[in-house]
């Protein structure tokens, strides 16, 4: 088992390195560089950047150097725990991301929590009472949730919020709580702003999880061991919950690998629409403005999280499901 974990970990390190190269290259792929996009941005805002200024900026940002030199410079910085300076924000990348990382985690965890709390019981119910009225309703609602793009839902809710309730639109805090230090009042303000984003983000996931849970459980419920348990006279709740549900949970363990990066990146489009101060809009902006160090760091972070997540789910699966055997132990 230890050897297995060790081997996986080694592979993970290599994967992370490959991701760092790839993320750097991908960001360089679009035409131009940060200075071009800066100029374009200035131009679209009604000002002009002269040749001289553009030249000066390129020298300052070291953009004239070959790409591999820029990459090694970045790697050296990372070695020192410094992810570089964001060109657009002109602050260390770690600070820029740090501000938003926790907000992102809060929003995504809330969404995830909502998803699981809703999806698991409904999924179990739908399977046990297959083809009942409740099953049909759950399925219908689920499919609607799955089919409506969540950014559209966000737009509709924004508009309804504005016309019906004149609600504070977008963001995670009211203006007065925007930059004050943490307090119980500020936390309450955050909680008040959470339901809409959590609902929008969670809805599609909920539908999916309901379907997965239902299908898995239906498979299990027809197996002989369930019949045996039932014929032994065990109460129905024990019959269902003790074994089939546990087995049906397997796919959830294996999707943790995707869940981890999802916590950071899953909310990109919804965050943009709702104006949430999360990592998503930051990544989009950084990519559009070709802010290499910032975009590179976020992409790298997502990559690392996927790798770690996969590692965790592999280990978790081995642990949860005794049927999975390691070949060489």
């Amino acid at each position: 088992m230890l050897a297995y974990i060790g081997r996986r970990a080694l592979l993970a390190v290599f994967t992370v390195w490959a991701i760092s190269v790839l993320s750097f290259v991908i960001i360089q792929l679009p035409p131009g560089d940060f200075v071009t996009s800066y100029i374009a941005q200035m131009a679209t805002m009604g000002s002009v950047v002269t040749d001289e200024e553009a030249q000066n900026l390129r020298i300052q940002y070291g953009l004239g150097q070959p790409i591999y030199v820029q990459y090694f410079k970045w790697m050296r910085l990372i070695g020192q725990g410094n992810f570089g300076m964001s060109m657009e924000w002109r602050r260390p990348v770690t600070e820029v991301i740090g501000d938003r990382l926790w907000m992102t985690v809060v929003v995504s965890v809330a969404a995830l929590f909502l998803t699981w709390v809703l999806a698991l019981p409904i999924g179990i119910y739908s399977a046990v009472r297959q083809y009942s009225a409740g099953d049909y309703i759950a399925t219908l609602v689920g499919f609607i949730g799955l089919a409506v793009p969540n950014f559209l839902l966000a737009l509709v809710l924004l508009y309804l919020g504005f016309t019906l309730f004149n609600a504070n639109i977008g963001g995670l805090f009211s203006v007065e709580f925007q930059d004050v230090p943490w307090s119980s009042a500020r936390a309450w303000d955050l909680i008040k702003h959470l339901p809409i984003p959590a609902m929008i983000l969670g809805l599609a996931g909920t539908a999916q999880q309901i379907r997965i849970m239902r299908a898995n459980l239906l498979d299990e419920l027809r197996k002989p061991y369930v019949v045996t348990a039932r014929s032994k006279g065990l109460p129905e709740s024990t019959v269902v919950l003790k074994y089939p549900v546990r087995v049906a949970l397997n796919p959830f363990a294996s999707t943790i690998g995707y869940t981890l990066p999802y916590i950071v990146s899953g909310s990109i489009i919804v965050s943009i629409v709702l104006g949430l101060p999360t990592v998503g809009p930051l990544l989009l902006k950084a990519l559009v403005s070709q802010d290499m160090f910032l975009a590179g760091t976020i992409v790298l972070m997502l990559g690392v999280m996927t790798v770690i997540g996969t590692l965790i789910s592999d280990i978790l699966l081995v642990w949860v499901d005794p049927r999975i055997r390691l070949e060489d132990t």
């Binding site: 035409p31 100029i39 002009v48 002269t50 553009a54 002109r90 504005f162 925007q178 629409v273 949430l276």
Partner: protein
Amino acid sequence: MSDHWRTPRTRTLRSRLTIALVVGALSTAVAAGALAQIGKSTLIGKLEGPEVVTDPAKQPKTFNEAPQLAAQVKAGKLPPVAERVGQDPLVIKPLHEIGKYGGTWRRGFTGPADFWNGYRCCSGPDHLLFWDYTGDKITPNIAKGYEVQDGGKTLVLHLRRGMKWSDGKPFTADDFVFWFEDIYQNKDLVPTPSAAMAINGKQGVVEKVDTYTVKFKFPEPYYMFPDMLAGSTDVAGQAWRGAFGLGGYAPAHYLKQFHPKYAGQAEVDKKFKEAKFDSWVRMFLYKNDWSLNPELPVLSPWKTVTPANTPTWTLERNPYSVFVDTAGNQLPYIDRVVLTLAENLEVINLRALAGEYDFQARHLDIAKVPVFLENQQKGGYKLYLDPGDYGGDMIIKFNLSYEADPEIAKWMNTADFRRALSLGIDRDQINETFWLGTGTPGSVVPADTNKYNPGPEYRKLWATLDIKKANEMLDKAGLAKKDAEGYRLRTDGKGRLRIEIMTLGGQFVQFTQISEMIREHWKKIGIDLIVQEVDRSLALQRTAANEQQLGAWNNDGSEHLFTFPTHVFPFDTIAVVATSGPLYAKWFQSAGTQGKEPPARMKELMAKFRRAYGVPEKERIQLGKEVWKITAEEVYSIGIIGMGSASMGVRVVKTNMGNIPSRQYNSPDGKTPTISRPVTFFYKK
């Protein structure tokens, strides 16, 4: 058949999100009705604004200050107000009345790249000279006065006696000398000298005469220089250009600690490493960044307290502000300005609708005017339109130095072809659909009131709808042959004459949608227009590579012809998302040593333009008019809708704010709303 059929479209994610979803849902439902009732006249008011008082006899003798500053004076933390504003404060006569102190001005912004936002509202401006509210006349500003001497070769600036930086240290001629010798002439900080500091390619110098007098000297007459100080150029103050090592002056007493010449290389190296900068240069420029460094001593009426690269950009009153009103009250009236970060423009528009901003024009969408009108009561605000003085909220530029397809290049260089295309556009339909009838259809020339306007007859020159004439001109030019669908054929036998127009999405003006409408118009004159919306980086790359045929953009800024010529003729070699000829621009910038020689008429225009910088104003105005005449006659760009409000001219102001102009001069050079002097805005209750 033509080989360049449609190339795949690239769109930014934002434009995809923005498209029509909210716009469509919100505005179309109420559009027609609301506007028809209110009409253009009530939305566009009279141009008005505060004035700078220059008569020493009218200077206030005693001074007042905001209550919190008075408390600090009482506590002994600040010197008295009369000492802080100095002997020659900058006196501004408010538009309507003397205001009251207090309040927070709430605005929305989109992040550090939206630097213009805070700069336009709150920098004062800190230019040495500035414009009066008509955007036409130069007035004293940070400098008390100026004289042009030596046949235009020298500009003498008189500073205000006793004026101070925001940390209480004196602002003197030494700050100019420090800027010039230790920043501007330092090759690490400013590797390439600025064109604004040069006439005919020859650099000028800065000299101290005495504590309160500075000279800018040039080897040749440079009568334009005062305009350069007033406009948005490299010598236009610390807020605008400090972060680039430019601006004309800098706080010497503060910045010396970050400069190797004064602090020593070893000390500066230690500092930048500790602060995690890549180099001392990056650190130095950051320290001189008005929007990012809260410690920086400034001259602006408000100063940054939480920087623009955080979720909220906050500015607070500068206790040493040199601005006062006619009653001697130190300005600004408003205590703080808070710009909150919005991740997208729809959120800004919705917040403005909900009355969450006090005064906002930036990022508001003209297509939403009906919705803004409908929610005036509920949101507690009033909607104003501020049309620009420039002739094109949208123009179409011909790339005159295009070479990739010789047939297209030939036609784009035929004046009658360009004129015919211009005659084939139904501007009224575009005006009604996209400007809700509030714009002015016509050529590219600026408003009739602009000093460089060549005459009212140029507004309609080649800029009316005349399909018959357009068809005749095209037939006569040699494009009489048509295919089965009625489109004109190329003369080289390679099929239909197809022309591409490049547009950008997600802008103040819906360039793509308008271009699609023009595509329909041009069907009637047998021209097949292909509309390509591209990402802005791709647009830049194509224009730089001379691959663009037509480009859609606006000509905002061109009302100040000589400080903002980019959209008038091929002037810049870079930095345009729509070009009128990169090779000609190169030829112009390199004084004929590079690029491609333009045709005679263009050369005539360029010569007039260049000459204008070195001649007195009267002669310059004449030359400016001639530049516009040639531009309109030759139709280098097609003007579509001008004097429109699409670009930052849709203004939402809370009804409890005072000294608000019913119409303000909308221009990048005027840094609107700064031209209306926001230091005089106040809250009535």
